[in-house]
Amino acid sequence: MSDVYIVGAGETKFGELWERSLRELAVEAGLRAIENAGVYSRDVEVLYGSNSLAGIINGQENIGGLLSDFSGIAENNIPAIRIEASTASGGAAVREAYHAVKSGEFDLVMVGGVEKMTDVFGSELIDLTSSVLDREWEAFFGATPAALAAMSARKYMADFNVEKDAMAMISVNDHFNASKNPDAQYKNKLTLEQALNSVAVAEPLNMMDCSPVSDGAAAVLIASENYMKKNKLEGVRIASSAEAQDYLALHSRKSLYTLESAKVASRKALESAKIKIDDISFAEIHDSYSIYGLMELEDLGFAEKGKAKDLVYEDIKIDGRIPINPSGGLKAKGNPLGATGVGQFVEAYRQMKGKAGERQIKDAKYAMLHNMGGSGSISVVHIVGGE
């Protein structure tokens, strides 16, 4: 079995990119990754496209075929398929690439994540994004992703006596970091007061507790140690990969604020990398809603249940004890669903290579990347770094 490395990474700017199409975004990210790695696309043996909702938002399925064709490699006749795991598609696609290389079957795999959300807007888009929930038993009755996060938040706040400030600080931190990320959707810093006074989306969550509607694409090249050395590339190691599942519907889970999928995936990823949570230098977490930021800090292992509030004012800052979302996270870097998890790898790669500019974390040894699907039914956790 081979060690597995990220040897190139690239992404588009995330945002409301009205003039850009699904395929253009994907190809731009892919070419950036190829350019960044300094390899040729003819060396790519497999292409995994990650995407969540193109079928219903853009009327486009067969994403593998689309990406292969417009990346200009159709005549290479390599396998090109889409990996779909709802909003965790990106992490799940990198995980498949990791396995393909680790097994020794392939030496160079491309993962391209893309989502083009602004082709639909308003209540129509909310209905479509609600398809990552249980359509028949949640969305049918009026549930939305924000509504489920809001119900987790209300119960969490009541049981642990936590105020909205603690949740809002997740968004404040995201915006501060995004202000230093040229690829981020938002460059404005957010004050606690602004966050608390933004309009209600699903009470107690406000607009500033919710990740935005984003277009964007991200791509990484995953290679074997052999390929990397033979081509004199300097990659960043993927130390481990884990994925875990929970009940699809929030109402079927044992607790409204415990992400079993995140707990299990984190534990397995740490075990497999043979490290402890204290060895993690920074993390990118799936804070599609600010409450998930608090729940994830706890369930991934950075804080006891109900205690994430003790981390959010100082420790999670970019120069704090455990920096969270140096990229700007889902709230401020943006959340183009199928691209989000791949984008986390782009950030980790840049951080580990010392190429993260003004948001550079010093001497990072290991990063934890957490990508989540639905309201927590899937978690994919990777640990990046180490020798």
């Binding site: 219903i56 308003g122 209540s123 129509e124 909310i126 209905d127 609600s130 028949e136 038993w137 949640e138 969305a139 049918f140 009755f141 009026g142 549930a143 939305t144 924000a146 509504a147 809001a150 119900m151 987790s152 209300r154 119960k155 009541a158 309009v199 209600a200 989306v201 699903a202 009470e203 107690p204 969550l205 519907a249 929030l250 109402h251 079927s252 409204l256």
Partner: protein, 133 residues
Amino acid sequence: MGEVSRFWREAVHRYRLVGHRCGNCERTYFPPRDVCPVCHRDSVGKMKEFELSGKGTIESFTVIHEVPSPFVRQRPYILAIVKLDEGPSLTAQIVDVDPGEVEIGKRVSAVFRKIAQQGSSGIIQYGYKFVLD
């Protein structure tokens, strides 16, 4: 979205709150499921329909302002996770009440109501909502 069959398929479970009881361990489930997550293959063929009382307690709730298209005319509405007295929890609207009166822990009962109207097809869907006791 969807064809009419998608809506009548689950109608009996939504109209009368019919769930499943595992004949192997006696655990109760709503919505119905063909395999018990505790007993696995030992439960196959032993999941029996049973009607829930429709009585329960609010576990959590939200008032939704940004709503999906079939619910635009109901904006804003109250959505809750209700723990039924028989054990299972479900997701449903709380109606006929001012949001200020809704609290975690309050007792509720199921009522049969119109849920939403699908945009293009115009199909009206029915099912359960809850009211405070």
